[in-house]
Amino acid sequence: MYRLLEHTADMGIEARARRLDALFVQAARGLLDILFGTPCPGRGRQNLALQVEACDREELLVAWLSELLFVVQQRGFRPSGLTIDAVNAGHLGATLCGAFAPEEAAPLREVKAVTYHRLSVVETEDGWKARVFLDL
């Protein structure tokens, strides 16, 4: 699950999940919710593979959300679903399901970037918890 965090000028996402891969899915759903008001803005069935690398889990979270943001905002991909195929401390492979169809859903707002401000990915007693802020 995820919840959106208040910030004076921007917005944040707090995600929780039992497993690390599910945590990255929840954070992505939070980003899509901020962009479109729904975590599943698309209808298409085309698969799009994404690969990102970073030097730790926190930076991997930023890299993953930034990649998703790029294909959505710049390339017009509208995801109808997403799965994390593999994730460890430095690498993430994901498959987006959807279509390059910007007309399917118009973003509510522009997200400039995913920031490193107060960024965290921590293991908790019942799984994983992440916090990330976006620049709007």
């Binding site: 959106l4 208040e6 910030h7 004076t8 000028a9 921007d10 917005m11 030097c55 926190e58 930076e59 890299a63 930034s66 790029f70 905002q73 710049q74 118009a106 973003p107 509510l108 707002r109 522009e110 400039k112 970037a113 920031t115 490193y116 401000h117 107060r118 960024l119 802020f133 620049d135 709007l136």
Partner: protein
Amino acid sequence: MTVKVEQIDAWRWRIPRQGAMHTEGLVYASRAMMDRLRQEQALEQVRNVATLPGIVGPSLAMPDIHWGYGFPIGGVAAFDADQGVVSPGGVGYDINCGVRLMRSRLTAEELRPLLPRLTEKIFQQVPSGVGSCRSDLSLTAAEQRQVLLRGARWAVERGLGSAEDLLRSQAEGCIAEADPEQLSERALERGRRQLGTLGSGNHFIEIQYVEELLDPQIAEVLGLFPGQITVAIHTGSRGLGYQVCDDALRVMLRAAKKYAIELPDRQLCCAPLSSTEGRSYLAAMACAANYAFANRQLITVAVRQAFEDTLGLGAEALQLSLIVDVCHNIATWEEHRFQGQRRRLCVHRKGATRAFAPGHPVLPACYRSIGQPVLVPGDMGRYSYVLVGTERGMEETFGSVCHGAGRVLSRHRAKKAAHRRDIFAEMARAGILLRSASRATVAEEISEAYKDVAEVVQVVEQAGIGRPVARLRPLAVIKG
């Protein structure tokens, strides 16, 4: 963690040096502003900036300070050329986001009957909204390279604007150290079709009138008179700038480790100004800054055309001339006198505006007697101010003032406050025509989401770091 704050006088507050801080913090605020600030993270961010290596003078915050990411919005920090660092987070994602102000020969009474047509025309001619791009202008790789190298000069050389536009822009609309080779393919891709677009969020074009002259002598030098129509444009480097910052942060995270720089917040990641990483970032930042200058120049040309078409008057009759173009997200090399010595410093302004004092050698001759003019926009429902820089500002803030009103409500709270209200009708009742690509943006940008800019300007004036010249009232607002 609570940040210790000591009151210096009615408008200044000190964050004493402690822990890893290399210097103290200095915040310009009224007591009421400080009471609000204590409840958010911005003071902690002023303190964090003070821990960066090579900082010269205090970690400063202007009175529009609010919670940012890394640096506070409203933050100013100067760094020594040899010992200091450059931090992309201290510039922000929207590199050279800034404002420009134009004056005209028209009065509000003359324009009022044509205002709806004019507003619609500008709205049609300047693409705005989320991801706005130009269908009629896609830059070739060679053209884009020239934009990145030459900024607003590129536009003026193509007949889009005048030499006077350049003269009245910060850095004459072009930062010299730009190197397009430092930009990623993604940054170039994102910039290809967005030149001449407004974007969304708090970006705007505003048709205003001069409501009151607060310093008639300086106003006369700026060519301002009561009731006169002015136009303000607020936008930046669009997706290209965001990508330049994003790319640089990844490099700087590694650089901070390489140079053993302790970071209280990863968003403050940085590298020595003299390092390869630092120089590369400054060269890429200059490209994005030049893109932003060219962006505002193209919008200026579109606005002038809309005025000419709607009023059926030529450029000579309208005299829509630039007063100033200023950057509020940038790091620039500047010479300052600090503790009796001339120093070459890299001044980061994140949501703050350069406002040099009268007599400063970088000012154009037309402004040398009055100081650098600055536009401080308020929210869309109230007013904006024209200020000029002061000598005290040079002494205390490296010649910097606020950049706007500063948010007080989160977007979520603003949206809640706007729920079930017709903001367009409310604005119309206040005599302001509002046109926007998005109702959601309008809800997030309601007046109550911002401090009253008059209170912000009052702090600047009372502290002596800027001098108010005129107050401008909006007649029509175009939001992204």
